[in-house]
Each structure stands twice: as structure tokens, then as C-alpha cells.
């Protein structure tokens, strides 16, 4: 049942990738900005949880309560940082050349990395899984850590929430309209700049949430952001830049290709996601649900 275990592992990766890529793709779709610093928000989510929870487990009830609090506080702090970043750094750059925007988010990436070294140092930090979410489930003979199930559950909940927001609410229609034609939306009386700040804040909130929940599954380091950024970009690109539903499908494809790599050819594991990307883009150059640029 090693295969099934790998499938679960792939879906866990997919869940995290979706949370990060959903923000990345929305920010590109609306603001037309390729946010290289997006991974940094993810990293901050993990670091903030590690600071709040601490490494040592004191009493189990206390640890669990602390963990839930951290899970809410960390994404909120990250989102506030995101809002500030959009307002101070990106706003003046809308409508400017892409290279300048890319340089700005690239610079932010370095600054955020530097600041994290200042605050949290260069050592690895580890976060314990709260007692409530420890242990394993056995599904069809394969093992699934309870915590991985929890990660998937959060991603599914976020996915459903995003679907509801974008399909069923006037705010969501505005976001989709802004992706298609921000000028016309403004000419119809919507404050598109304010909407963009909201989209950026929501995107960074999701990155912060992903970082907050990933903490207990791996060691928290400064490199966390760069690590996920590359995969999340691939997810966003194969899903079609701007499409949240595409990001969900892309995340599953990449998560499972990675798992297939581990299963069949561990020495070429990292090649698998690139092969998946090449295959998808060869068939659909704008991504699975992307719209070709005019």
C-alpha cells in the first residue's frame, strides 16, 4: 500500500500548493503583478506560528489552545503585512513596465528574507503537532497522518470558500471583472485600487495560512519561501494565470506528479513536476483554464 501512502502525501503537497498558488494567481490576474515575494508571506506564516507556539510542549491542553490561536493570528499578521506592502510598494508601480514590478517584488523577497534572519536567526525551528492532531489513520491499508488529513481539510474548505466568493457574491464578481477589464470596472464606479488591495491582502492571508499549517510537518527555515514559490508558480502557470479553479487542478497535478516521482524514480523526483508542466503547456499554452492574452 506504499502507492496509496504516496498518493496521500501527494495530495497533502497539493493542498499546500493550492493555498499558495491561489493567492499568486489571483494577484497576477487582477494586479498583473508577478509576486516573487509571495513565498516570503508563506515563510512568515510558519515563523510566526513557531514563535507563538514555542518548541516545547508544556501541558497538552495548553499546547492545543496555543496552536489554534496561532493558526488564526499568524495569517492575520501576514495579511496585514501584505496590505501594507501593496499600499506602499506596489501601488506606485501599477501600469509601469513589468521589469520594474518584477525587480520590486524580487527586492521585497530579499528584504523579507533578511528581516526574517534578523528576527528568527538562521537556525532550523521545529513545531510540534498539537496532541489533538497527532497519530495516524489507516485508510484501505495505507497510513495517513491525521495532521495531513487536517491540511487537506483546510485546503478543501478554502477552495469551497473561494468558489463561493468568486461565483456567488458581488465582491467575487467584481474581482473576476477586474481580472478581465479593470478600466471598465472603474468606469462603472468600482474603486479598483481598493479592490486590488483587498485581493492582495486575501492572497497573502492564504499564503500565511499555508505557512502556518505547514510548520509542524517540516523544519521551519528562511529557505521555506523560495522552496514553495517555484512549485506554486508552476501550479499557477499550468492552471492558467488568473484562474483560482485552475490553481486547484494544477496543484493536484503537481502534487501527484511529485508523489509519482518519489514512487517510481526517486532520483529524478524533482524532474517530474517540470515534465508535467511541459506536457500541460505543450497542449494548452495558456494553462488549463487560462484565457489567451489578447
Amino acid at each position: 500500500m506504499y502507492g496509496l501512502t504516496q498518493l496521500f502525501s501527494g495530495l497533502t503537497t497539493a493542498a499546500l500548493l493550492f493555498l499558495v498558488a491561489a493567492g499568486l494567481t489571483m494577484i497576477f490576474g487582477g494586479l498583473r503583478i508577478i509576486n516573487v515575494a509571495h513565498g516570503s508571506f508563506y515563510m512568515y506564516g510558519a515563523f510566526i506560528v513557531s514563535s507563538l507556539v514555542g518548541t516545547a510542549l508544556t501541558s497538552s491542553a495548553h499546547a492545543t489552545a496555543l496552536f489554534w490561536t496561532a493558526l488564526i493570528v499568524a495569517p492575520l499578521v501576514v495579511a496585514a503585512l501584505g496590505a501594507l506592502t501593496e499600499y506602499l510598494v506596489l501601488r506606485p508601480l501599477y501600469g509601469r513596465e513589468h521589469l520594474l514590478q518584477l525587480l520590486a517584488t524580487f527586492a521585497l523577497f530579499y528584504i523579507f528574507t533578511g528581516v526574517s534572519l534578523l528576527f528568527w536567526g538562521g537556525q532550523y525551528r521545529s513545531i510540534s503537532i498539537p496532541p489533538m492532531l497527532q497519530g495516524h489513520l489507516t485508510v484501505l491499508g495505507a497510513t495517513l497522518p491525521v495532521y495531513n488529513g487536517f491540511i487537506m481539510l483546510i485546503a478543501v474548505a478554502v477552495g469551497l470558500f473561494m468558489w463561493w466568493l468568486l461565483q456567488r457574491t458581488p465582491l467575487g464578481w467584481r474581482i473576476r471583472a477586474a481580472v478581465e477589464d479593470p478600466e471598465m470596472l472603474a468606469a462603472m464606479g468600482t474603486n479598483v485600487r481598493g479592490l486590488f488591495t483587498g485581493v492582495f491582502t486575501l492572497g497573502t492571508f492564504l499564503a500565511g495560512l499555508a505557512g502556518a499549517i505547514v510548520g509542524p510537518t517540516q523544519s521551519v527555515t528562511t529557505g521555506l519561501g523560495a522552496q514553495i514559490l517555484v512549485s506554486a508558480f508552476i501550479v499557477a502557470v499550468i492552471g492558467g494565470l488568473g484562474s483560482v479553479a485552475g490553481a486547484a487542478i494544477g496543484a493536484i497535478i503537481i502534487g501527484l506528479s511529485q508523489a509519482a516521482g518519489v514512487l517510481w524514480a526517486p532520483q529524478f523526483e524533482s524532474a517530474f513536476i517540470y515534465v508535467a508542466m511541459i506536457l500541460v503547456l505543450a497542449i494548452r499554452p495558456s494553462g488549463l483554464l487560462g484565457v489567451p492574452e489578447q
Binding site: P170, W173, R174, R176, A177, E180, D181, E183, M184, L185, A186, A187, M188, G189, T190, N191, V192, R193
Partner: protein, 233 residues
């Protein structure tokens, strides 16, 4: 109601509008005519704040809107019916209308609701939950006009409304615009189809290379050989 005074606009480094001045009174229909690429669309974009003027003043309803953000200009009561397929193609017809809806306290005439839009354009009512991207060219024009009207604007800016439409639909369009005029809605109509615009308008301006070349009543311009020749009519 709307007044442009010595407006200069640029796209990047190219100087598109070179001192355009024009006036439209409340309830008046004015045509802005000229060949392709003389700055008609840029004039409308500049009024809406999409291509802000570098120089000059734009007054709407006694308010200086020259440096205002586009959404504030829209909320002040200006609505743009753009040229081309600029509906939100991923949203349904109703969603397109809902995003534009505003509840103005001082609408012109009896005021517009989605219900009244559907009464005026029964075809749109039938397409209510259809994705706007699937609409035909004529239906998209109706949606663009309906979308501008549910905002309950105090003034309409129309950009190349007849472009690419079948003659029968152009006839319908003429009738609808006439009704809006009768309700007292002011309009600035940019058109390649000069005769269509001159039939609706009381006055017209002829734009050439970013400057106003001629102006006068619609009747006078229609009678001028020079103007008609320039417009290629």
C-alpha cells in the same frame, strides 16, 4: 453640464489631444466626429479619467473632475459606453448589470432598474443568466447600453456604438437613444458614422489630429461641403 477647456492628453510620449475645448449643456446631445485615430476615443477616456489630462480643466456639474479617480467620476454621474467587446464575458448578463447598478438620488427621468432595462430590451431579459461572452454583437451593444443606464448617469459618453452592427440594429439603437434624449439625458456621441450622429445631435465638433477643426449646429455642419468631404460622407 460638461465642459472641457484646453485639454492636452498623451499616450506615453505621443501628444494625442492638443488643446481640445468643448461644451455640452444639460440635456443636450453633441456629436464628436472625425476620422479614425484623430482622438475621439482619447477624448472620452480623458473625461473618464482613464487617460488623465496633462493640461487643461474638465468641469462636470460645476465640479472639477480633471484629477479625480475614474470611479469617482463615474459616481459623479458620468457613464461610458465603450467601443468594442468590453462587457465582462465571464459574468452573466445579470451580473454585468448588477455591478453597474447604482441608486442615484436624482435620476434623470424615472430612473433605471434592471427590471426597466429588461422591459426596454426584452432580448436581454431572455439572456439573463447567459454568460455575456456568448452574446451576439447586437446583444452585447444592448448590454453595454443597459449597463451604462442602470448606473443612472446624469450624462452618457458613447463611443462608436454603431460599429459593426447590422443596419436593422442601428435603427433600433437610434430609436433607443432618441428615447433617452426625450427623457432629458445629455450625451456626447463619438461616431465614425457621421450621419447617424448628426441625426441625433443638436450640435457637433469635428476633431482632426487632436484639435477641434469645426463646430456648429448639426444642420449647419451637414450642409457644409468641406466638412462632409472631410468626414468622407
Amino acid at each position: 453640464m460638461l465642459s472641457l477647456q484646453d485639454i492636452h492628453s498623451f499616450y506615453g510620449r505621443s501628444h494625442i489631444l492638443q488643446g481640445v475645448s468643448l461644451e455640452v449643456e444639460a440635456g443636450e446631445t453633441v456629436a464628436l466626429l472625425g476620422r479614425n485615430g484623430v482622438g475621439k476615443t482619447t477624448t472620452l477616456r480623458t473625461i473618464m479619467g482613464l487617460t488623465p489630462a496633462r493640461k487643461g480643466v474638465i468641469i462636470f456639474d460645476q465640479q472639477d473632475i480633471t484629477r479625480q479617480a475614474t470611479h469617482r467620476i463615474a459616481r459623479a454621474g458620468l457613464a461610458l459606453v465603450p467601443s468594442g467587446r468590453r462587457i465582462f464575458s465571464n459574468l452573466t448578463v445579470r451580473q454585468n448589470l448588477l455591478l453597474a447598478q447604482s441608486h442615484s438620488k436624482s435620476p434623470i427621468g424615472e430612473g433605471w432598474t434592471i427590471g426597466r432595462i429588461y422591459d426596454t430590451f426584452p432580448k436581454l431579459a431572455k439572456l439573463d443568466s447567459r454568460r455575456a461572452g456568448f452574446l451576439s454583437g447586437g446583444e452585447q451593444q444592448m448590454l453595454k447600453l443597459g449597463r451604462a443606464l442602470v448606473a443612472n448617469p446624469r450624462f452618457l459618453l458613447l463611443d462608436e456604438l454603431t460599429e459593426g452592427l447590422a443596419p436593422a440594429i442601428v435603427g433600433d439603437l437610434f430609436m433607443w437613444l432618441k428615447q433617452l434624449q426625450d427623457e432629458g439625458l445629455g450625451m456626447l456621441i463619438c461616431e465614425q458614422n457621421a450621419l447617424f450622429a448628426l441625426d441625433l445631435a443638436q450640435r457637433a465638433y469635428i476633431l482632426d489630429k487632436g484639435q477641434i477643426r469645426h463646430q456648429g449646429t448639426a444642420d449647419k455642419l451637414r450642409g457644409s461641403k468641406e466638412v462632409m468631404q472631410y468626414l468622407g460622407v
